[in-house]
């Protein structure tokens, strides 16, 4: 049976999450239908992603075909629009609703048709095409509206406001009225959804130039966005600062526009060099006929720069940058609804539409010219350059590894266990790592409700989550457990409270696949539980009910017999603070054959760390030297994974711990959280 209730407690259990997403409704519906008729989840996702690219190309082609009457000329627009770095970056970031960018040229196509031959049929086509964008993407609704207003102004200027009353301008007057009417009707059709849009994107804070140039504020905001800020210290004011600074982070820079290359991070993406070249050549070839399109692309490009000019793309603005607010600033502060589009770089899609169309108009001029050679060879070169860009431009997205669609075995084991909600450790309140991003995908296998979610982006949801976890000493400790300093204190009554709510299982990992596609920089360490955390979990829950060597599952019921608080002070643990810790310094540890590096001298019972290498097990060994003892054993390593190691020292008195390279060539080892338990 279909359940139409948008609230679910399958994630963020038990506080729940509203799945009714204003910007994704249409895609949710299409995806839901695909899955319901039996198309596998991954296939459905990939189909939607590819369909986003195809429909973008087709819509840009249709717009240019309408304007030029030539499929060959329209090929320029379709190719340029569908190969902009913006679409690839959004696709790579999983924002398939943004890849469905063809809705914008589709709407412009309808506008052009209304202006050329106004009719009731075309009026309704324009209205519907604008209204339907709201179901796919809130940003694109706003952008289409912006395009509509710019298009109206352009037409007014071209016709001449004073000559509008002339009888021979009757068709133009009708066209303009129909465009305005279609926009108003589309807005009315979308009106019932405005409440949902407001809920989803709460009131945006005002822009603050000093905030964008303040190093302390920047560090504070960064600690929230990478999920390391103590959750109990999150508050409305701080989260408003986080929201406000997003406008700056999501603005492009002069350097990004100049480079115009393919970027992994969509925040740095632009319409791309090719789009600007095609638009410019269109202007050169067709002259006056492209002016309107070029003016729109110039205006949209200016808006992508955000509220203040950022030349280099530096994370912090210079204090003088705020002296000269850009047009985006005024629009954000004074135009209704504009502040909802708080990611200026996305306005680049308007520029891409206009540039690719201008290019097509130029191509049509070429085709019509009797003095120019055939255009087909040029189109072949354009297609080769455009579609090969991901292979050689910038971050070369085509070289990135495909995401691994397999699910770790532990989740199949979890599926076999009794009912009960699950807590994955560590709990993260921001989508900082791949492991965190996959929690909901893993749920498709184990089917238990989970507390974890990668959807705590909006501050209203995050504050609800904070209120829930801050009331419980266990949950508060489990949040960001991998980066949290001791002491850890968990009260027995809080564990009972968790059980009463419906929690039953806790999952933690000793092996984590390397983060080859990092979401927020190199953040994999946010997943790596240190020895103190393992001590805590062991004290709380005893022996795991499932331990497959890579991951463990504990039963919360095992902790219900605790009478006193569990307290881990970490005083018997020495943090080795290694110089070659990739988290601290970024330095690697490279060992040539026979080379050894001393990591600790003193007394100790166990050595623990997280290690990562591409080399095989046995090529790196751990050497223990002490009074009457010299022992060397291979580091238990799984290539391509971060592995938690816990090695008993088994020696008396002062010992010397070394890591030794035993491969035939150099071995490269990443090692973090290196600690000795005394």
């Amino acid at each position: 049976m279909w359940d139409w209730n948008p609230m679910t407690t399958e994630i963020l259990f038990p506080i729940g999450y509203n799945l009714w997403s204003f910007g994704h409704m249409a895609l949710q519906l299409i995806g839901g239908v695909l899955v319901a008729i039996g198309v596998p989840l991954i296939v459905s996702y990939n189909l939607l992603l590819l369909a986003g690219c195809w429909t973008s190309a087709l819509a840009a082609h249709a717009l240019a075909r309408e304007l030029t009457g030539s499929h060959l000329a329209a090929f320029v627009a379709g190719t340029t629009f569908a190969t902009t770095p913006y679409l690839y970056a959004e696709g790579g970031a999983g924002c398939i609703e943004l890849v469905a960018a063809g809705l914008i040229p589709l709407y412009v196509f309808c506008l052009v048709r209304v202006m050329r031959v106004p009719s009731t049929k075309r009026f309704f086509q324009a209205t519907l095409s604008l209204a339907i964008i709201g179901l796919f993407n809130w940003y694109y609704t706003l952008f289409a509206g912006m395009f509509g207003v710019a298009f109206l102004m352009w037409q007014l200027i071209e016709i001449g406001p004073t000559s509008l009353k002339r009888p021979d301008r009757n068709l133009h007057r009708k066209g303009l009225l129909m465009v305005v009417g279609s926009m108003l009707l589309a807005a009315a059709l979308n009106a019932p959804l405005i409440a949902e849009a407001r809920r989803e994107t709460p009131q945006r804070p005002g822009l603050s130039a000093s905030l964008f140039a303040d190093e302390i504020a920047f560090e504070e905001v960064r600690s929230v966005t990478n999920g390391s800020h103590p959750i109990d210290e999150l508050n409305e004011a701080l989260l408003e600062r986080v929201d406000a600074i997003q406008v700056h982070f999501n603005s492009t820079s002069i350097r990004s526009l100049l480079d115009g290359k393919f970027e992994v991070n969509p925040l740095h993406s632009t319409p791309g060099k090719l789009a600007y070249v095609v638009g410019f050549l269109g202007l050169v070839a067709a002259g006056r006929r492209t002016w309107g399109w070029i003016a729109i692309s110039a205006g949209a490009t200016l808006l992508t720069l955000g509220p203040y000019l950022n030349i280099s793309g530096a994370l912090l603005l210079s204090s003088s940058a705020s002296d000269w607010p850009l047009p985006y600033y005024w629009a954000h502060e004074y135009l209704p609804f504009f502040a909802k589009a708080y990611r200026p770089y996305r306005i680049g899609i308007i520029a891409s539409t206009a540039l690719s169309t201008a290019g097509a108009i130029g191509a049509a001029a070429w085709i019509r010219s009797s003095t120019m050679p055939r255009i087909q060879p040029v189109l072949v070169v354009l297609a080769l350059v455009a579609f090969s860009q991901p292979h050689w431009s910038g971050d070369m997205p085509s070289q990135r590894p495909l995401a691994d669609a397999s699910v770790q075995d532990i989740y199949s084991d979890l599926a076999e266990l009794d009912e009960g909600a699950v807590i994955e450790l560590p709990i993260q309140y921001q989508p900082v790592t791949t492991a965190n991003a996959r929690t909901q995908y893993n749920q498709t296998v184990h089917r238990h409700p989970i507390l974890n979610s990668n959807q705590l982006i909006r501050r209203t949801d995050l504050l609800r989550f904070r209120d829930f976890v801050a009331d419980n000493s266990a949950l508060q400790t489990f949040v960001d457990l991998s980066r949290k300093d001791t002491p850890y204190i968990v009260e027995p009554q809080d564990l009972h409270a968790l059980k009463k709510i419906g929690f039953r299982w806790l999952v933690a990992h000793r092996t984590i696949p390397e983060d080859t596609v990092s979401l927020a920089g190199e953040m994999v360490h946010a997943d790596l539980l240190p020895v103190e955390a393992w001590q805590l979990l062991s004290e709380l829950f005893g022996e795991p009910v499932v331990d497959n060597g890579e991951s463990v599952i504990w039963d919360l019921e095992n902790a219900l017999s605790l009478q006193a608080p569990v307290h881990i002070d970490g005083e018997n643990i020495i943090d080795l603070g290694l110089i070659f810790d990739p988290v601290e310094t970024g330095f690697p540890l490279v060992l040539f054959p026979g080379q050894a590096v001393s990591v600790y001298e003193g007394e100790g019972e166990r050595f623990t760390a997280w290690v990562h290498t591409q080399n095989q097990e046995g090529e790196t060994t751990f050497r223990i030297e002490g009074p009457g003892i010299v022992r060397e054993e291979p580091l238990p390593i799984q290539p391509g994974h971060w592995q938690y190691i816990d090695i008993p020292i088994d020696g008396e008195g002062r010992i010397n711990l070394k890591i030794v390279g035993r491969a035939e060539g150099p071995v490269r080892l990443n090692i973090t959280q290196a600690k000795v338990v005394k």
Binding site: R255, K273, S312, A314, A365, T371, T585, F587, V590
Partner: protein
Amino acid sequence: MNLPQRIFWGSFAVCAWLFVVTPSLSDAIHRSTLEGPEPFSVSTVRSILFENGDTGAPDIDPDLKEMLSELAALELAENERVTALWSLVDIDTRTLALEKIGAVPPLTYAVDPRFFDPLTPSIVQRTIEAYGFTLEPLPRSTLTQRGEAGDQREQLMTVLSLIHHDLLSQEQAAMTLQGAMDLLDLQMKRKTLEERLRSQLEDQL
């Protein structure tokens, strides 16, 4: 102009823009981002204090005085380590490395807030990459130098070139790694000290 001429000159402008103007502008912007704030030096701080003193002789707080002498000691120690690293090889090898500086790839740790300057961590990282992680004490330098920033930068770039072009023996590489780590340690101490000094001097400057 007719269409073929417009297309020709338009294509010419595009080529000039793509292959000449854009790379040089982008590079110039990138270079400007690499210039961090001017490091403090004892003489700079003293001269500022003298400028601000009403009587011509600055009334220096004892804590500040201690910090300044600590800063001076750190600067001296850094100079010594830089010279020791640079003078580890004979003059012919140094000259060869200096000539090949242009072939050294861009610095790894440019604009990394964790470090004081991008050169020393880049030396540590590239020594580990090229020679593995082995340490040998780097003997104290018997040479003296004025310790001007420009000299130090060139000397450290020479060291980086020695590493990149594989001009060090295994033993020299181990000494270089130890020397660079000593230098990094001194720089981190200076970074902390300068942050303290900056906050203390904020009102006086």
